[in-house]
């Protein structure tokens, strides 16, 4: 009898431990990750108010009507009426998309080259891709300010080399934003591509070559299709954060470089319009829901395959 009780006690304690392992991170994420989004949604339905906090409450108490719920879609209507917001959303998608394409074009040959290098070199090259990632993002973007300035290093070099007679206007333009984006996000493209290309069975390429396929055909028909998962993972890892980017357009872009992350930041800190900022965030989230869900699905799939 007592042994049965003891083992029951043991399984009970075991369950308790399992619960404990799941519950701590679960509750933390519920409180600090999920709830905040619900609050953003709630505030996006409120009116701005000059008060602390600067928005109307969801539940309103009054003598006549008792407790009532107050919501408004004015903020969303405002986003669609003022063409500034629409233009900004489109511009962000465009900037992120073109940057992603460039990252892919530059990153693919690099990842391929690393994956085909002999072993000691390969690890060193891989490490060299990772190092910039550990150096502050902010400082790496800042490094380009000195290069792209009108009296900066790039113009100095081009003038010295006699390629141009007049310094180019680079800093505070869209070009500078593109350069900053590609520079900052390139490692995010290279790493998943490398992870994929490294696993590629080289015998397939050799077989195709032996059977007389030209290098370009081997690449187009074998390497590229097989590396598609890496391409997709890399593109998502660049595209999704690039859309909401704030630092790069704020430091390298001009006043007319419209990006949604920057607009949200300014709406919040300069205009102090919390409800509109919340609505901007919700619409941005809508825009990203599809790619994010797709990214998660793929990640889970990959983990399952590993298992």
């Amino acid at each position: 009898m007592s042994t049965v009780l003891a083992s029951m006690d043991a399984t009970f304690r075991e369950r308790l431990w399992k619960k404990f392992i799941v519950l701590i991170p679960y509750l933390w994420l519920l409180l600090f990750f999920l709830t905040p989004f619900l609050i953003v949604f709630k505030i996006s339905l409120a009116d701005p108010l000059i008060a602390q906090p600067p928005f109307t409450p969801l539940f309103q108490k009054s003598v006549e009507t008792g407790l009532s719920i107050y919501t408004t879609f004015d903020n969303y209507l405002y986003l669609f009426q003022d063409s500034l917001y629409l233009v900004t959303y489109i511009n962000s998608v465009k900037l992120a998309f073109i940057s992603t394409c460039f990252c892919l074009l530059i990153g693919y040959p690099i990842a391929y080259g690393i994956a085909r290098s002999p072993q000691p070199t390969r690890n060193i090259l891989l490490l060299m891709v990772v190092v910039p990632f550990w150096i502050s993002f902010l400082l790496r973007v800042y490094a380009w300010m000195g290069i792209l300035k009108t009296k900066g290093l790039l113009n100095g070099f081009l003038l010295w080399a006699g390629i141009i007679d007049q310094p180019l206007e680079l800093l505070y333009t869209d070009t500078a934003v593109y350069i900053g984006m590609i520079y900052s996000y390139l490692p995010f493209m290279i790493l998943p591509l490398y992870a994929n290309l490294e696993k590629l069975d080289i015998r397939l390429l050799e077989a195709a070559a032996d059977l007389g396929a030209r290098p370009w055909k081997v690449f187009k028909d074998i390497t590229l299709p097989l590396s598609m998962p890496g391409v997709i993972a890399g593109c998502l890892l660049v595209f999704i954060p690039a859309i909401g980017e704030y630092v790069i357009p704020a430091l390298l872009g001009g006043a007319d470089t419209l990006m949604i992350g920057r607009l949200l930041f300014d709406e919040f800190f300069m205009n102090r319009d919390w409800p509109v900022a919340s609505a901007v965030a919700i619409v941005l989230l809508m825009l990203l829901v599809l790619p994010i869900v797709y990214f998660q699905k793929r990640q889970n799939q990959e983990l399952l395959e590993q298992q």
Binding site: I21, V22, L29, V40, V130, F268
Partner: protein
């Protein structure tokens, strides 16, 4: 060399030049004597001296290091639990939501995370009078939240690679699950926990946007200070600061690389 390997070789050269020339230029120009940052005025270490006499920067750096150390530690604990939960506990209620909440912070734009956390803190303040003054506490909580997801992913992939039969053997021999976790699982994933901690530390040290949202008056982290300075243009003492950081990171990553190299060598032998 044939045409193809020539192309790949030049792509590698171009790629790494693109990645490293800006960093090298910052390092070189941090030793520039001239106040006009991009005009060379001879070698000097005056910006380093100025940097170490700047109390604002030192205070901000100290604050950032404290937040990074605390948040990385909690993120590692929480992320490890999450990683174990995801790989070793096959079924529990709301597993799908849990996996979603672990993966989403990895790609969530920082402006959204920052805004939503601030609004949470403001609402909590209204509701229960906590967290009071925003600052170190709120930044630390925010950093734990987004970096624990990164730790969880690292732990998860390590646990999937790990040979589960060792744990099963211990369980079969009558060890209690908690003992198996403590004596077998944790020692094996310990290196992954270290890399998770380092990643969380770096992410926290690097974060500008989320900290800007959730911070209050009086708590200025290093990235916030740097940003407010460089927004107005190039600052020579920031070059010096960047150089110190670059040197530290390069040494750290090189050591990690060497250790990994040694480990793979001994494994083969």
């Amino acid at each position: 060399m044939n045409k193809r390997s020539k192309f790949i070789f030049s792509a590698l050269c171009f790629g790494f030049a693109f990645l490293y020339v800006p960093i090298l230029l910052v390092v070189i120009y941090s030793f520039n004597d001239s106040r006009l940052v991009t005009i060379w005025g001879g070698w000097s270490i005056r910006w380093y001296i100025e940097l170490f006499n700047n109390d604002n920067i030192l205070d901000a750096a100290l604050l950032s290091f404290r937040i990074a150390a605390v948040s990385a530690t909690f993120a590692t604990i929480m992320g490890t639990l999450a990683g174990i939960a995801l790989t070793r506990i096959r079924q529990f209620k709301g597993r799908l939501l849990f996996t979603g909440m672990i993966a989403a912070p990895l790609v969530m734009p920082e402006v959204i995370t920052g805004l939503s956390l601030l609004l949470l803190f403001v609402s909590l303040q209204e509701l229960i009078g906590w967290p009071g003054q925003r600052g170190i506490n709120t930044i630390t909580i925010a950093h734990i939240t987004f970096s624990m997801a990164y730790v969880a992913v690292i732990i998860q992939s390590r646990l999937i690679d790990m040979d589960e039969s060792i744990e099963e053997a211990a369980l079969d021999l009558g060890a209690k699950p908690i003992r198996v976790l403590w004596d077998i699982t944790l020692p094996i994933i310990f290196p992954a926990m270290i890399s998770g901690w380092l990643l969380a530390f770096t992410l926290s040290l690097d974060d500008l946007i989320i900290a800007s949202f959730v911070s209050g008056p009086g708590a200025t982290t290093l990235p916030m200070l740097i940003f407010s300075k460089v927004r107005l243009g190039i600052a020579p003492d920031i070059n010096a600061l960047a150089t110190i950081l670059i040197v530290v990171v390069t040494i750290g990553v090189s050591i990690a690389g060497l250790v990994m190299h040694q480990q793979s060598k001994t494994k083969k032998a």
